[in-house]
């Protein structure tokens, strides 16, 4: 069972439309990935370029490697109409379970032991974001943006003749 699972893991990750392979860039080549390379699939594996992971020299704590980051495109705030910044991609960390946050019982100040809880990095494209996460040696998963379908709209639609009983009484 264990072996089977190991063999199957990379497949799902390559094939699944919305999950990317867990990149453990700083590890030596993981057994999972090596199997993936030899298993025939109809998905062409991404060419792996050698990355010098920043964490080797940046001095970032190694715990960071065990925390997943999400790569996603933040949706537009529905409170507002403006679509600016809507094309950007963002990386942020999942919160820490347990000691991530607490409130001062007297003053209500929020404190956190998680130095990454406020970290948000913005990128122009998904590739940039993924590349950055790889360089940092972070586990990441990509959330694909949703497809918008706004039909063509026309002011004159308000005045279209309808032959049957009206289903709505239009107003301003």
């Amino acid at each position: 069972m264990m072996l089977a699972r190991r063999q199957l893991v990379p497949l799902v990750r390559r094939v699944a439309p919305s999950i990317s392979s867990r990149s453990i860039a700083s590890d030596a080549v993981s057994p999972a990935q090596s199997v993936a390379a030899t298993t025939p699939t109809d998905v062409v594996p991404v060419a792996v370029t050698e990355l010098l992971t920043a964490e080797v020299i940046s001095g970032a704590p190694s715990e960071l490697r065990h925390r997943a980051v999400r790569v996603y495109q933040p949706t537009r705030n529905t409170m507002q109409s403006g679509g600016a910044k809507g094309e950007r991609w963002r990386i942020d960390f999942d919160i820490l379970q347990g000691g991530g946050r607490w409130e001062n019982p007297l003053m209500g100040y929020a404190s956190s032991a998680d130095y990454m809880q406020g970290a948000r990095v913005t990128f122009k494209s998904q590739e940039d974001a993924i590349n950055f996460a790889k360089q940092q040696g972070w586990d990441y998963y990509v959330q694909q943006p949703t497809v918008k379908r706004i039909p063509p709209k026309n002011y004159s639609d308000n005045y279209l003749y309808r032959p049957n009983k009206l289903r709505i009484c239009k107003t301003k």
């Binding site: 069972m1 264990m2 089977a4 699972r5 199957l8 893991v9 799902v12 699944a16 439309p17 919305s18 999950i19 867990r22 999400r70 933040p74 949706t75 705030n77 529905t78 409170m79 507002q80 109409s81 403006g82 679509g83 600016a84 999942d94 919160i95 820490l96 379970q97 347990g98 000691g99 991530g100 946050r101 607490w102 409130e103 209500g108 929020a110 809880q117 406020g118 959330q143 694909q144 943006p145 949703t146 497809v147 918008k148 379908r149 706004i150 039909p151 063509p152 709209k153 026309n154 002011y155 004159s156 639609d157 308000n158 049957n164 289903r167 709505i168 009484c169 239009k170 107003t171 301003k172």
Partner: protein
């Protein structure tokens, strides 16, 4: 093409999934031709019939607007979107003007600026200087646009001051401050078109125009919270959120709603350890841009009545706080003491159980030698395999997809009231009903949907009569001719004495109609689930075996199960409750294990379509509460059961081995035609022996009746999400 359309990037699978993408989902009639025009010197091609503002957007020229909204009809009354069009003597309101081939449009000229400045000056002339005390501050369209187009002082010095308008009472959710209203009428159009509340409107004229109901009335809609989002100023704000936080203090987390089975996409805004509000996230495949009021306002339930530490019931029947090791040891001791073996070990999964935990719990229970994996379905139905079976996904899923509802031309509702079971889906039906010739028929208790329907009867007999073609009427006629007929069966039918009969009847009908209802490009047989955890329960096979049904349990593990009938739990059984609220389930327990609510864990949720989506933790759980799957995993260690995973990745690998679609987040995996037919076949064969008429009782209608009474309490809180079918 519109830019937004071109940004489709997800590779869709080639099966039924892609059908949903192929279909023309626009609610207006299809207009094929594209036209080309020039916006700010950039050529852009848009579908014919687009508004000029859409063309400008597509060209990447943002147009300020107040009244125009992508998902509402065009009103053209704020005039903020003025642009300059060559050979036009005056600036043109780009929302109300059609995009014409060859037009040359300028959105950034002195004329445009001056025109917009003029509009803004008039808008501000009566707008109070409330920004410092206004809840919209920081995410206000008027505020933002006045930075660019507003003047820093006024030229109106009326002694009597600005226009004053009385505030309206729109109910417990929407706070009004009508002085701030700029009469964009977005709320009126939303209420009229989307929510189906035709009581909101504009009264008076000119300077006296105001939004309201004219008569004293509240906005009676389960989608009313969305007008808060729509309002471009602070006239309509959220009552529960009033004066609670500023948008720039909030941390936003994109997650998934679990209070119904639609899996609406939400954004959880939190500050510190508190969830401050819940906002919708646009996803045209699921919830468009709307969420129900329950989704939006149940969050305050997350603060109260929480389980924060493990509890063990002492000898005096009072709970005593305990440490995690003690609590887990107490469970192991309890299991030993009761001597539960095999199917006497029972797990009951509740409404808010997440998929990861279900998988881990199922593995644990299975390895303990039991198949007694019940759920808190109504009455005895949770203790038996569901009547629709779980073998084939299409037997319990919403196969037409939520977006696909819009392409149906006749809908038959069976024992369901989508308005209460899936409010956002209901708005889709209304949208389609308004814009197309859709006809709706209903079998079940007559309910106030927001669209017209033909009531065919209340019980299984009425359904049988309709299916056998003995009913005459407009709906029957149109149903017979429908190209895309859609049957929507309420999940409460699986919790009803007539359930077997109804599912059998429908399966036989679907099979008898050949290619009409289930075919390669259309699967019109749908089960509308109303509880977030059920699709995942069925997907993972979390159902009791037939043998387990008759076993008296000695050890019961309640996973978020608050709707369970206390009478069904034997007095001498050892009960463990794992969940986040100290509600009915916890009261029954000998040991309580504090878990996470949906805003506190990153877990997978499967919606009624079978779409798995990844929720994300926004805030940490209170006290000693832990992620649910970890609790079960830790328990397995104490019970000496070896589970083959240690981390979340491992659990998800296991989920993949159970059903790959569980880890294909956001994607939708359909059921192939032959398998769907095999599923229908199994439905039929089970019920060939069933005498439909003798089984048919008049009580089927109670399913929807209960929802109407429940509606009143639906906002009371998360912990007691009372989604019972019938009393």
């Amino acid at each position: 093409m519109l830019r937004i359309v071109a940004s489709a990037s997800r590779p869709s699978s080639v099966s039924l999934l892609s059908v949903a993408h192929r279909r023309n989902l626009s609610s207006t009639s299809a207009r094929q031709a594209d036209i080309t025009l020039t916006v700010d010197g950039k050529e852009v091609t848009v579908p014919q019939g687009s508004a000029l503002i859409q063309a400008c957007e597509a060209a990447g020229s943002p147009i300020p607007r107040f009244c125009y909204h992508d998902r509402l009809a065009i009103a053209g009354n704020c005039r903020m979107c003025l642009v300059e069009v060559a050979r036009s003597p005056k600036p043109v309101a780009s929302c109300a003007a059609p995009a014409m081939p060859g037009a040359v449009v300028f959105t950034n000229t002195p004329l445009v600026h001056e025109a917009r400045e003029g509009v803004m000056e008039f808008l501000l002339s009566n707008h109070p200087l409330d920004c410092p005390i206004c809840d919209q501050g920081g995410e206000c369209d008027l505020q933002d646009q006045s930075i660019r187009y507003g003047s820093d002082r006024t030229r109106f010095h009326e002694i009597a001051g600005k226009r004053a308008v009385s505030n309206k009472d729109l109910g417990p959710i929407v706070k009004t401050s009508m002085n701030r209203c700029i009469q964009c009428t977005r709320c009126v159009r939303f209420a009229n078109e989307v929510a189906g509340v035709e009581d909101l409107g504009t009264t008076g004229r000119g300077n006296d125009l105001q939004i309201g109901m004219y008569v004293e009335k509240m906005m009676d809609s389960e989608l009313s919270g969305n007008v808060i989002d729509l309002c471009p100023v602070g006239a309509l704000t959220s009552k529960p959120y009033a004066m609670q936080a500023r948008p720039w203090e909030l941390k936003t987390t994109e997650s998934v709603d679990v209070l119904d089975a639609l899996g609406s996409n939400i954004r959880v805004d939190s500050r510190g350890v508190q969830v401050m509000r819940v906002q919708p996230r646009t996803n045209d495949n699921v919830n468009e841009e709307w969420i129900s009021d329950k989704t939006r306002y149940a969050y305050d339930g997350l603060r109260f009545q929480r389980l924060t530490t493990p509890l063990i019931k002492g000898p005096d029947n009072r709970f005593v706080t305990a440490s995690w090791p003690d609590a887990l040891a107490a469970i192991a001791a309890g299991l030993n003491q009761t001597g539960a073996k095999g199917n006497e070990i029972k797990a009951i999964a509740g409404h808010l159980a997440d998929t990861e935990t279900l998988v881990v719990l199922k593995d644990l229970i299975n390895r303990l030698g039991s198949d007694n994996l019940a759920s808190d379905l109504e009455g005895k139905y949770g203790n038996a395999p569901p009547v629709h079976g779980i073998d084939v996904r299409s037997n319990y899923s919403f196969n037409s997809t939520i977006a696909g509802v819009e392409s149906a031309d006749a809908i038959l509702l069976v024992g369901t009231n989508p308005r209460h079971e899936a409010a956002v889906l209901n708005s889709r039906i209304r949208k389609s009903w308004l814009h197309t010739d859709l006809v709706v028929g209903m079998v079940g208790t007559r309910a106030d949907t927001t669209y017209g329907f033909e009531h065919l009867g209340e019980d299984a007999k009425a359904l049988e009569k309709f299916l056998s073609g003995k009913v005459k009427g407009e709906f029957a006629e149109r149903w017979a001719q429908a190209k895309r007929p859609l049957i929507m069966v309420g999940s409460s039918m699986a919790e009803h004495a007539d359930g077997e009969a109804v599912f059998g009847m429908l399966a036989r009908y679907v099979a008898a109609t050949g290619e009409r209802i289930v075919r390669e490009d259309w699967n019109g047989f749908n089960v509308l689930q109303r509880v977030a955890s059920r699709p995942a329960l069925y997907e993972t096979g979390f159902v009791p075996s037939r043998a387990a049904t008759s076993t008296t349990p000695k050890f019961i593990f309640l996973l978020n199960a608050d709707e369970v009938d206390p009478a069904s739990i034997p007095a001498d059984a050892f009960v463990v409750y794992q969940g986040h609220h100290g509600d009915r389930g916890a009261a029954l327990a000998d040991v309580c294990l504090p878990g996470c609510a949906y805003t506190e864990k990153s877990s997978t949720w499967v919606n009624t379509e079978g779409r798995s989506q990844l929720g994300r933790a926004a805030v940490p759980p209170p006290g000693a509460a832990r992620e649910d799957w970890k609790i079960v995993r830790a328990l397995s260690e104490v019970l000496g059961v070896d589970l083959p995973y240690e981390d979340l990745v491992g659990v998800r690998d296991r989920m993949w081995a159970i059903s790959p679609s569980l880890v294909r987040w956001d994607g939708l995996e359909g059921t192939s035609l032959e398998v769907a037919k095999a599923g229908l076949g199994s439905l039929m064969s089970n019920f060939y022996q069933t005498d439909v008429v003798s089984r048919a009782s008049v009580t089927m209608a109670q399913c929807t009746r209960a929802f109407v009474t429940r509606e009143k309490t639906s906002l009371e809180g998360l912990g007691k999400e009372p989604l019972q079918a019938h009393a």
